[in-house]
Amino acid sequence: MGFRKGQKVEIYKKSADDGWESFMDAYVGTHGIITDPDTAINDSDALVEVSLVGKGTFRFPQDCLRCI
């Protein structure tokens, strides 16, 4: 799905995508806000920028995110 700026999301699972790094395992279950979705073509495969509460801002594959 295409995410919009400002949406609240949860990292609800790990992703098998190569954009998922091992340090991100610790972030499963955390909540955050989409701060920079794919602003070029709205590609459901693009990495999107999420700011996680208390963790920082990273780009995640979209298949590990769900809106809350």
Partner: protein
């Protein structure tokens, strides 16, 4: 009363105060509270009171009047039958042991509201300012439970104190058994109240040592700084298995090679800390957890955490609020060398996380930077920090965009020799080539790039990696580490017929990036109408918008965007779309281009139009997202002189083909760990768009900074972290004081824009900024989340313990923010201070000044009320509301006949008088 008595033979007492001293030391009291106290006050004509009965005394029943000498009278606690303090305590912390009647404070439950102190007419309950809790004599019940006597009794030099069962001293008074009760050991309390995390304590101490400036030996200082860095990794749960060993080895080297006393002492302290607390360090490493929670307490504000470069936002915002712009810039540049650029173009993830946004609008964090940078620059106070001594090691950076230049800045400050290789004739990367001048004027990039040149960064322009230089040639020149920040400059093709056909000025479809680059560099024939009278931009993202608005400014009469989906799916920022439409850009939604049409294509002729089909959004099977599907027979032609494609960029891999070991991801980006920006080739690091794909300036800056740290660790054999860095607090700035009413009334200012007719015609900056007054006020809207970490304890205490419910702060919760209304505090707060006493960060504060008691949260004044003073000595008693609250609490236990208000010192004197009359029977 309790089952015990503490009797003082006044004739024997020599007034040596040993009992007081022993009590203080046994109870680990700071100076101030006195649980047992020798009161001296000369002769008094007083009422003769009956035997201990707080009820009758309170009702004012006396046995005539006589003179009593108040000399050396030991005062502690009556352990009343119906204790006022127990009745008043809203937290159930003041208790009376059922089996022996000792009245004591449970430190785990005490919320520090001081209600018991104000309630006790004898002044027996006192305040421990260190623990911010009530304390009182409990006859040293832990000792009693072990068959020992209270501490004061054991130490009395004149043996005038006697302790025992009240039955023996005053037969008939006490009926209950003196059964031996063993109190449970307060293990939790010990941990909560006494213990500090050694990791955290060591960090504070190292910071202190470094701050003093006494550690002057450069090697020892550098090693100590490295240990600090590694210890911060440990505190933040990002340390790897090598961290401990590495810290130990640095500490040993400091001791062994330290040329002076201070170096050796520092090394010894570090070594001792690491050995003594080895287990705690290992536990932090293995569990990523701090048992005391101390390491978490230093969590930065949500905005700082959200900033990909980790800028200390609350500190700089507050400095700007105070008018200290140059200092604010100094703080920002510790994490981001481009405050002015970012102040104008940052995508501001921080503002999405800004806690103030949960109340009304986020603080305008982004723009404040630009204001301060301009001010500091105008004042000549925008300066570089001092560089560290030359390390004699060189790093080569490829690409002069924000990622490359950020790494260059931080590595240069660390003392590395830096060369930046750039294919183009100028620095800036996409900040210059992509972002149009009406959003980011060239001079601003130039001014901030000049700061790097001042540091001695060696820029080599017009030098293409892969053509003019190679990895081998650079290694041969002595570079020991490399940082690739080449961005993502290759556009995706539309893949429609006619796209690549050549016309007079190149291919028919111009890439948006090419258009913007040529405009930025002035690289087009300004005598011809370029790209045409009528243009169609294919795409709906930010780059498409920039291209469309640029075309308008180039004089194109008809600028249209063709986008496949609807407005609500448009990936471009809403504000950008709004501004573009205001300026005259038209958008055709649900439009799919199918071919570019021209006359005599292939014969250097011209474009005439773009053929499109209409689309409808159809839900995908099994997917939640609708996709655009062409509607059969809906084909139509948009007449145009130029087609600009803006459907995304990718990394150009060609220039790196000579390094086959570099790993690429399936998105054709350079593989590099986001923790330390290491690629698959040792010594080669990468960040920015080349790694993330097309992203943002601030992400590129953050990546560049992380890479600089990783390169430094690589070149100095220091272990790399396991987790991404946690931002560092760069200052401890005082808060700005103002009333909650004013703070909440302040609104985020609206950005003023250039008049629309000028916007259509010129590349003049569109956003014209805020006036200074607005900037200062906007900065003052910050809630200082670096101090208040929103644990919500104050709200809980006020609601659940005090039952006052004065704090309505719905913004504390990220997931379920509720309404916030500080006017409730103004109406309901009684200024008991329980919230302040329980605030773990010192954000909630209660202070007395100018005859008023003031409650504030990070400087935001929630309530202020007049103070009531002790009728005898004038000492502060609290506010009327607070005293009323306590009186209401008493009502259930006892009616007070004497309405006078006495502080606890005077109350103790009253009690001494009472005791004197009482003890006369035993004289």
């Amino acid at each position: 009363m309790s089952n015990y008595y503490l009797f003082q033979d006044r004739k024997k007492c020599i007034g040596c105060h040993s009992c007081e001293v022993q009590c203080e030391s046994y109870k680990s009291l700071p100076s101030g509270p006195k649980l047992c106290q020798i009161v001296q006050d000369g002769p008094h004509v007083i009422d003769d009171l009956p035997m201990i009965s707080d009820v009758r005394f309170a009702q004012g029943i006396t046995h005539g009047r006589s003179v009593h000498d108040i000399k050396h009278i030991l005062m502690s606690c009556f352990h009343c039958e119906t204790p006022w303090c127990v009745a008043a305590c809203p937290a159930g912390a003041m208790k009376k042991r059922p089996l022996d009647g000792i009245v004591y404070v449970d430190p785990l439950l005490c919320i520090g509201c001081k209600t018991c102190i104000a309630a006790c007419p004898w002044g027996s309950v006192q305040w421990n300012p260190e623990k911010r809790q009530a304390v009182k004599c409990d006859f040293c019940m832990d000792r009693i439970d072990r068959g020992l006597k209270p501490a004061c009794v054991t130490v009395c030099t004149s043996h005038c104190l006697e302790f025992g069962a009240i039955e023996q001293k005053m037969p008939g008074l006490r009926k209950k058994s003196l059964a031996h009760i063993s109190a449970p050991k307060d293990v939790k309390a010990e941990i909560l109240l006494e213990k500090r995390c050694p990791v955290n304590a060591a960090i504070t101490e190292i910071e202190r040592i470094l701050d003093t400036g006494n550690l002057i030996d450069p090697k020892s200082r550098r090693r100590t700084e490295k240990i600090l860095e590694l210890m911060q990794d440990v505190a933040w749960g990002r340390a790897g298995s090598d961290h401990l060993q590495s810290m130990e080895s640095f500490a040993q080297k400091i001791i062994k090679e330290g040329p002076d006393d201070i170096s050796i002492k520092t090394g010894q302290f570090l070594e001792l800390t690491l050995t003594e607390h080895h287990e705690v360090f290992v536990s932090h490493l293995q569990t990523n957890n701090c048992a005391t929670g101390e390491c978490v307490k230093i969590a930065p504000a949500p905005c700082q955490m959200a900033c990909p470069a980790g800028i200390d936002i609350p500190t700089y915002v507050t400095l700007i609020g105070m008018g200290r712009d140059a200092e604010a810039i100094e703080v920002i540049r510790k994490d981001n060398p481009f405050p002015w650029v970012c102040g104008l173009v940052c995508t501001r993830p921080c503002e999405f996380m800004c806690v103030r946004g949960r109340i009304d609008q986020p603080v305008s964090i982004k723009y404040l930077k630009a204001f301060a940078a301009e001010k500091a620059m105008l004042e000549g106070r925008y300066v570089n920090p001092p560089k560290k001594p030359d390390k004699g090691q060189n790093v080569c950076i490829i690409g002069a965009g924000p990622a490359g230049m950020s790494a260059a800045y931080y590595l240069s400050l660390m003392g590395y020799g830096i060369r930046v290789i750039e294919a183009l004739p100028t620095a800036g990367g996409m900040m210059l080539l992509g972002i149009p001048r009406y959003r980011l004027p060239c001079r601003i990039i130039d001014l901030e790039v000049t700061m790097l040149e001042e540091l001695g960064v060696d820029f080599r322009f017009n030098t293409n990696f892969g053509k003019d230089v190679s990895l081998d040639s650079l290694k041969a020149e002595g570079f020991e580490a490399f940082f690739f920040a080449i961005g993502a400059h290759k556009s995706f093709d539309l893949n429609i017929p006619g796209e690549t056909a050549q016309i007079l000025n190149g291919p028919q479809a111009i890439q948006a990036i090419d258009l913007l680059r040529r405009v930025a560099l002035g690289d087009w024939d300004q005598n011809i109408k370029w790209p045409g009278e009528r243009v169609v931009i294919v795409g709906g993202g930010n780059v498409a918008i920039d291209a469309a608005r640029t075309c308008l400014r180039l004089g194109c009469k008809d600028v249209r965007m063709a986008y496949r989906r609807t407005r609500s799916e448009m990936p471009a920022d809403v504000e950008e779309v709004e501004q573009a439409e205001e300026e005259g850009v038209q958008i055709s939604f649900l439009t799919i281009p199918v071919a570019i049409i021209g006359t005599g294509i292939g014969q250097n002729d011209r474009i005439t139009g773009i053929r499109c089909v209409r689309a409808e959004l159809i839900a995908q099977e099994g997917g939640s997202r609708k996709i655009p599907v062409p509607i059969e027979g809906s084909e139509y032609l948009i007449e145009t002189d130029a087609v600009i494609s803006a459907i995304g960029q990718q990394v150009d891999q060609d220039c790196l083909s000579s390094i086959p070991k570099l790993k690429w991801t399936r998105r054709n980006t350079l593989f590099a760990s986001n923790v330390n920006m290491k690629t698959s080739v040792p010594g080669i690091f990468a960040a920015g768009d080349a790694v993330s794909g097309p992203a943002t300036v601030i992400e590129a800056i953050g990546g560049g900074k992380r890479a600089a740290d990783a390169i430094d660790r690589y070149l100095s054999n220091t272990p790399q972290p396991r987790m991404p860095p946690v931002p560092v607090r760069r200052g401890r700035i005082d808060w700005i004081e103002m009333s909650a009413k004013v703070k909440m009334a302040l609104q985020r200012p609206v950005m003023s824009l250039l008049p629309i007719d000028r916007r259509r015609k010129t590349f003049q900056q569109v956003e014209t900024g805020y006036p200074e007054q607005n900037v200062r006020e906007e900065a003052a809207r910050c809630l200082r989340c670096d101090i208040c970490f929103r644990c919500g304890r104050c709200v809980e205490i006020c609601r659940d313990k005090m039952k006052v419910e004065a704090l309505k702060m719905g913004y504390l919760d990220f997931d379920r923010p509720g309404p916030t209304d500080f006017s409730v505090a103004e109406r309901r707060c009684i200024l008991c201070g329980a919230c302040a006493a329980n605030c773990p960060s010192g954000a909630m504060r209660m202070e007395d000044s100018s005859g008023e008691r003031v409650l504030s949260l990070c400087g935001m004044i929630l309530n202020r009320q007049k103070l009531i003073h002790c009728e005898s000595c004038g000492a502060v008693m609290g506010t009327a509301g607070y005293l009323e609250y306590i009186r209401n609490k008493h009502q259930s236990v006892i009616q007070v006949a004497d309405p006078r208000t006495h502080c606890y010192i005077c109350a103790r004197k009253t009690m001494a008088i009472y005791t004197a009359s009482r003890l006369r029977q035993y004289d």
